[in-house]
């Protein structure tokens, strides 16, 4: 009855980054729930909000951390260590009981119906576990479930009924028990046979999160051929050194043929298209209930969706490019050795320019596309052109951040994962503020939002200047290095 | 002669070039290589046994300087196998030197008197 060990089991089974995620994804909602409970005057009306937060935390707990222990148990099974497996199972059961019972007790004390609470927690836990242990295509479909559900509800005028209705609650409780049985069966099957199954689209998501080395190689190994985009070898030679450097860097930098680009767009576009359609349907439904014409709603939603998609793409491209560069310029990477000894890449200043051009090309190109998207929105929607101006400013800022971070890595002053994430996160927050605040100020006539506009612009300008300083420092350091591909 | 006739033991404490020379000497003395027979090229031997061609050419060079082989222009290395009687007794005795040395060392380790050993040896040789 080693309860301490069982409680610590997810901690042991997770990697360092997963443990930090634990604090953010699981403990933060819990903390918010506790805090909001203290601060709200009427606990009996607060409990749905608290329940929602707890369900979010529960979902994350059962999506990431408990499956890590299950992965540990699977490997223990392969290594013929039954003791480990028994402890893992005990740990999972303990967490299951505690994560459902403890909040039920707590919320029951403040007046919530215990059956509802327990059912909701059980369902979110099972949903999380299903997402992690079901084959990957099911998990992907689950991502679209909320959007589909919303769209269906609005389009078909369904009404699931109030939360307090006992009949619904009893139905949901029965459903939860059935789902639990299915999940338990699946988990037991995985523990026994999981490792022997071929990896690929049928493999559960949790395999991707197993503690292991070189995720990039593993992803490449397991990806099917039709999903992989064909790289464009033809142009990458001594005549175009920056393209050759991009080819050697890999990841998002690989120069693609037009067919390859089409393939990637198709795959990414499909997911976005489904979400867009669901969102539009839901929006039209909501608009219909308020009496707005559907074409007007469509116009607004399409344009704002387009704009925000562009902004997201801009930041994501920066993030992914930085991830690739951080991996390559760390320690004894073979890509750096290859590039350092490859002749005909150029010398001195020309080589450094090629390297910077290669490393900045992909993220800045994508951010440039985003710029075009925002400009198009502004052109098609002249009433909101001023918001477009703010969006442009945020794009400039994001580009400056990306440039500074990239050149710092090249120059030998890598800021490290945390500071990178912080800066990019800051950029993201400011970007949302740049779109949200002007909209609030000019569309909703909110005064405090209007007052914040000039500080926002000032903040962006300061950030851009700081980034330019960082970039300059990195470029000077790059010139001091004997050659740009030196191992750190 | 084929390169497979030689056996190379890279892990032995005797250097490879010395092994080759020893084997050539013994093959010639034993009559398995006739006079005028061509040795395989350095490239063949090195390729077959996966050893450095420099080692092989060093061995061939030593064999040439000891008079075991001679270099024929355009053809390679050819064996010089003198008839057994033409090889002096001292030369043939020199071939037995390693074994005699080993015998002497073993006898010394076992602390046997020389007389007993030579008596037994004479009996074995006298048969």
């Amino acid at each position: 009855m080693n309860v301490l060990l069982w409680l610590q089991m997810p901690w042991f089974a997770s990697s360092r980054s997963a443990r930090t995620l634990f604090f953010i994804a699981v403990l933060a909602p819990l903390a918010c729930a506790i805090a909001s409970c203290f601060f709200s005057g009427t606990p009996s009306r607060w409990w749905p909000f608290g329940l929602g937060l707890l369900c979010v935390g529960q979902c994350f707990l059962w999506v990431f951390f408990i499956p890590s222990t299950l992965a540990l148990a699977m490997e223990a099974n392969v290594l013929r260590m039954p003791a480990v497996q028994r402890h893992v199972v005990a740990s999972v059961v303990l967490y299951g009981v505690v994560s459902v019972m403890a909040p039920t007790l707590w919320l029951g004390l403040v007046g919530a119906p215990p059956l509802t609470v327990a059912t909701a927690l059980l369902l979110s836990g099972c949903a999380g576990l299903i997402y992690a242990t079901a084959p990957r295509y099911i998990a992907v479909m689950m991502c679209f479930a909320p959007a589909l559900f919303n769209a269906a509800r609005d389009a078909l005028h369904l009404d699931p009924g109030e939360l307090d209705d006992p009949h619904t609650t009893r139905l949901m409780a029965a459903l939860a028990l059935v789902v639990l049985a299915m999940v338990v069966r699946r988990v037991r099957w995985l523990l026994l046979y999981g490792d022997t199954q071929p990896k690929g689209w049928a493999a559960p998501m949790m395999f991707l999160w197993r503690l292991g080395s070189t995720d990039e190689r593993r992803v490449l190994r397991n990806s099917p051929d039709w999903l992989r985009a064909a790289p464009d070898i033809a142009g990458a030679g001594p005549d175009h050194p920056h393209k050759a450097i991009r080819m050697a860097l890999g990841g998002v930098y690989i120069p693609l043929t037009w067919r390859g680009v089409g393939q990637q767009l198709l795959v990414a576009g499909l997911g976005f298209a489904v979400m867009a359609v669901c969102g539009l349907l839901g929006g039209i439904g909501a608009g219909a209930r308020r009496g707005l014409p559907s074409s007007g709603v469509l116009h607004v939603m399409a344009l704002s969706g387009f704009g925000s998609l562009g902004l997201i793409v801009g930041t994501m491209s920066g993030f992914m490019a930085l991830a690739v560069l951080n991996r390559r310029w760390k320690g004894a990477s073979t890509e750096l050795s290859l590039l350092a000894l490859l002749p005909k890449l150029g010398d001195g200043l020309a080589l450094r320019r090629s390297v910077v051009r290669a490393c900045l090309s992909v993220p800045l190109f994508l951010q440039g596309l985003t710029l075009v998207a925002v400009l198009a929105c502004m052109a098609l929607w002249p009433q909101q052109a001023r918001i477009g101006g703010f969006a442009l400013l945020s794009l400039l800022g994001t580009a400056a951040i990306t440039t500074a971070l990239v050149v710092s890595i090249l120059g030998g002053y890598p800021l490290g994962t945390w500071r990178n994430a912080l800066l990019l996160g800051l950029g993201q927050v400011l970007t949302f503020a740049s779109v949200g605040l002007p909209w609030l100020a000019w569309n909703q006539q909110t005064d405090w939002a209007g007052a914040l506009l000039s500080p926002l612009v000032l903040g962006w300008l300061l950030l851009i200047v700081a980034m330019l300083w960082l970039a300059r420092r990195g470029w000077l350091a790059l010139q001091q290095l004997p050659h740009p591909f030196l191992a750190r | 002669m084929d390169a497979s006739l030689l056996t190379i033991q890279p892990a032995a404490s005797e250097p490879i070039y010395r092994q080759i020379v020893e084997q050539l000497r013994r093959l010639i003395a034993g009559g398995q290589l006739t006079h005028g027979e061509l040795l395989p090229s350095v490239r063949e031997v090195a390729g077959f046994h996966a050893i450095n061609p420099m080692t092989v050419s060093r061995a061939y060079g030593i064999a040439e300087s000891e008079g075991l082989v001679e270099r024929l222009r355009g053809k390679g290395m050819a064996v010089i196998a003198l008839r057994k009687s033409a090889q002096s007794e001292s030369q043939r005795l020199a071939l037995l030197e390693p074994q005699l040395e080993a015998l002497a060392r073993h006898a010394h380790e076992l602390e046997l008197p020389a007389a007993a050993v030579t008596r037994r040896l004479a009996k074995l040789l006298g048969e």
Binding site: L336, A340 | N52, M54
Partner: protein, 297 residues
């Protein structure tokens, strides 16, 4: 220019380092390494796991900046090599992972564009001989196949200097024999200088002309392979004699029963040290592997 690095007036050593010092995560990996390669030689760098062989090789090629010391390649400083010098070098790292997103054929095509002496025919034939499917993604090959593809990449560029870091570690015996044969023929016939690091000593004995032993951050033994076998031997002294022994030795090992094993060298006249003539002493010549174990253990 230091006289050590300038071997002779006309012959430029393909690789030379002087007093190389490098630190990694706190402890000294290289503590003053001096090493010069002669053109056309095959140098085997041996050392225990973690002795710093890979670090030394990377520092020699200018892939990392050492804390102090000099490294030159064909007479040029290793950190600022010119393009035509780079075209004469080929390096195969221990676990080749670069360009894993290309197929074997694409990778060889891509790399071949940068080398003026690239032999595409050889690359094609060698791939076929190794039984590797040219259209398979490199990431999906086994480690041994990956190593073979990278070796083909190195050999196809017809280098004057071939540097291999633990080349045979992942290969099966047949592939290993093929590699040794290829290396030996290139060294012997084209005069390619080869440096390879390994802890499989039997490979060295076949093809290496020189060996260098890296231990405690320094090169402790650097001489020809044949010379090593003829010059060093193990002297075993019984417990009674061990106290009297005063022979200069490369290493000493005391056994449980008090006897002593020393690795001794012949002196300038070719004579073994006087301790070899003590009563009960035994002198054994050693193969390279035994010699290595005696010295490095």
């Amino acid at each position: 220019m230091n006289a050590v690095l300038r071997a002779t007036e006309t012959v430029v050593p393909p690789l030379a380092v002087r007093e190389l010092v490098h630190c990694y995560e706190g402890h000294n990996v290289l503590a003053g390494v001096d090493l010069v390669l002669q053109p056309g030689s095959v140098l085997g760098l041996i050392g225990r796991n973690g002795a710093g062989k890979s670090t030394l090789i990377r520092a020699m090629l200018g892939l990392l900046k050492p804390l102090s010391g000099e490294a030159t390649v064909f007479g040029e400083p290793a950190l600022t090599l010119r393009d035509d010098t780079k075209a004469r070098i080929a390096y195969v790292p221990q676990q080749p992972e670069a360009l894993a997103w290309l197929t074997a054929r694409q990778m060889l095509d891509f790399v071949g564009r940068f080398y003026p002496r690239w032999d595409g025919r050889f690359a094609h034939d060698a791939l076929a001989r190794a039984g590797i499917v040219p259209n398979r993604l490199l990431a999906k090959l086994s480690p041994g196949e990956r190593q073979r593809v990278d070796l083909i990449r190195a050999l196809a560029s017809q280098p004057d200097l071939l540097v291999l870091d633990e080349p045979a570690a992942a290969l099966d015996p047949v592939a290993r024999r093929d590699l040794l044969r290829e290396v030996a023929m290139r060294a012997g016939e084209s005069g390619t200088t080869v440096l390879f690091s390994t802890h499989i000593v039997s490979d060295l004995e076949r093809v290496a002309s020189h060996i260098a032993l890296l231990r405690d951050g320094k090169v402790q033994l650097h001489c020809g392979v044949d010379e090593t076998k003829e010059r060093y031997a193990r002297l075993w002294l019984p417990a009674a004699m061990a106290a009297h022994a005063s022979a200069p030795s490369l290493s000493q090992r005391r056994h449980d029963d008090g006897s002593l094993s020393l690795v001794v060298a012949r002196d300038a006249n070719g004579q073994w040290p006087s301790a070899a003539r003590l009563a009960g002493a035994r002198l054994d010549t050693l193969g390279l592997e035994d010699l290595f174990v005696e010295i490095a253990a």
